[in-house]
């Protein structure tokens, strides 16, 4: 038997806490559609003025990398320390350019 929440879709919720900042993932919820998800998100996650803007995205629409594969996924940049500013040793007087 399927319960009523299983008939609803899962949405991920992103909240922008202050104008100018990025939206940040804050949690998820079940809803019938985007509009409903937005209203639920407001009631669920921004009851204490935590945000000025909310994004909702269907969880199924998120394509994520696998953390278990992180080693080989990011390995191409592991041997490139020269991409970091600290790799370059400069004389003291100009070191904080």
């Amino acid at each position: 038997m399927t319960t009523s929440t299983e008939k609803l879709e899962l949405f991920e919720v992103f909240v922008r806490s202050k104008r100018g900042l990025d939206h940040k993932h804050i949690g998820s919820l079940h809803a019938e559609d985007h509009e409903q998800a937005l209203e639920y998100a407001r009631d669920c996650y921004t009851r204490r003025s935590e945000g000025v803007s909310i994004w909702v995205v269907k969880s199924n629409d998120i394509c994520a990398s696998q953390e278990d594969d992180a080693d080989c996924f990011y390995d191409p940049s592991d041997d490139k320390p020269y991409r970091h500013a600290t790799y370059y040793v400069l004389p003291d007087p100009v070191n904080n350019m």
Binding site: R19, G20, D22, S53, K80, Y82, R83, H84, A85, Y87, Y88, V89, L90, P91, P93, V94, M97
Partner: protein, 314 residues
């Protein structure tokens, strides 16, 4: 008469709040932003050419790997900026067309040729150095996606300047010939780097409105002064001669006094008559056209995948 929307917009601007893509904004604010952000994006993309010129001829494997990484970053920065600009309702292809037809500009610095290896060092140090001064200021720009792009870019850009200075240092401490090469690169790139900040405030067509709307946060001349001041000691540490014979500390102002720039050269390069203007755009057009088959292949592959999926579902 101001309409309430415009009042609300100006209220956000004066309260240092960011404007976000779905907010109402005056048409001229949008237009001004599209001009500035796309010009910035084009500069990142065209800027790959002068340095790319030296990738196959870098003097060591280490320098080659560093340069490759730097040029790769510039492509990424172009992407961040094009994406930020697209939030204003212009498409990527429209922007590329404006670049290729000359309707949109890019920084005039990239119309100078890179004649020697030292030029690569001078570009990282001076050109990226000047860009950083400008971009640090733009982290506080009023348009949210642009400000956030600037923060990301500034974080990555520091390595560009440092690798350039390190390369210059190696040459300046090297043989007589290498030192002369470093001096020559400094002499040629110093002035165009100062021109990157744009015309004097009094001659800058877009400055006033941009300052009012907080798209720009500091004036061209103030940013240029900052760069002049910070560069003096960096030249001293290299043991090279300052290209500006009139550079002099002004105790009263707390800044260096310096010679005025050759503005005829500035306007001439801006208007298409620099050493490499035609070459840069021709190369961009050629690369874009030669890349057509890659874009076609992506579309064809996506269509094939979609068709396969539909078949499975049926």
């Amino acid at each position: 008469m101001t309409i309430p929307q415009e009042e609300n917009f100006m209220r956000k601007i004066s309260a240092e709040e960011k404007i976000e893509p779905k907010d109402w904004m005056p048409a001229a604010y949008r237009k001004n932003l599209i001009r500035q952000i796309s010009q910035h994006a084009h500069s990142e993309i065209i800027g790959m050419q002068p340095e790319g010129n030296w990738i196959t001829r870098a003097p060591s494997l280490r320098r080659k790997a560093v340069l490759l990484s730097k040029v790769q970053d510039e492509a990424g920065h172009g992407l961040y900026l094009y994406s930020a600009c697209e939030t204003l309702g212009i498409s990527r292809s429209e922007m590329i067309e404006q670049l290729q037809t000359g309707a949109a500009k890019y920084s005039s610095i990239f119309n100078y040729p890179t004649l020697t290896w030292a030029d690569v060092g001078a570009i990282g140090w001076l050109v990226d150095g000047a860009a950083i001064v400008n971009q640090v200021s733009l982290q506080r720009t009023s348009y949210g996606p642009y400000a956030r792009g600037m923060i990301r870019i500034c974080k990555e850009e520091s390595f560009h300047q440092r690798q350039g200075y390190e390369a210059m240092l190696a040459l300046a401490k090297g043989s007589e010939g290498q030192k002369a090469m470093a001096q020559d690169a400094l002499d040629r790139f110093y002035w165009p780097a100062l021109m990157m900040f744009g015309p004097h405030d009094s001659d800058s067509a877009h400055s006033q409105k941009s300052m009012e709307w907080k798209i720009k946060r500091e004036t061209n001349d103030d940013l240029r002064q900052k760069f002049i001041d910070q560069t003096v000691q960096q030249i001293e540490v290299l043991g090279l001669e300052h290209p500006d014979k009139d550079i002099k500390w002004n105790e009263e102002r707390g800044h260096y006094d310096s010679s005025d720039l050759n503005w005829d050269e500035f306007w001439s390069v801006i208007n298409g008559n620099g050493h490499c203007n035609r070459q840069r755009i021709e190369h961009h057009v050629a690369a874009h056209e030669e890349g057509e088959w890659v874009r076609d292949a992506i579309t064809a592959y996506n269509e094939k995948k979609r068709a396969k999926k539909a078949q499975h579902a049926a």
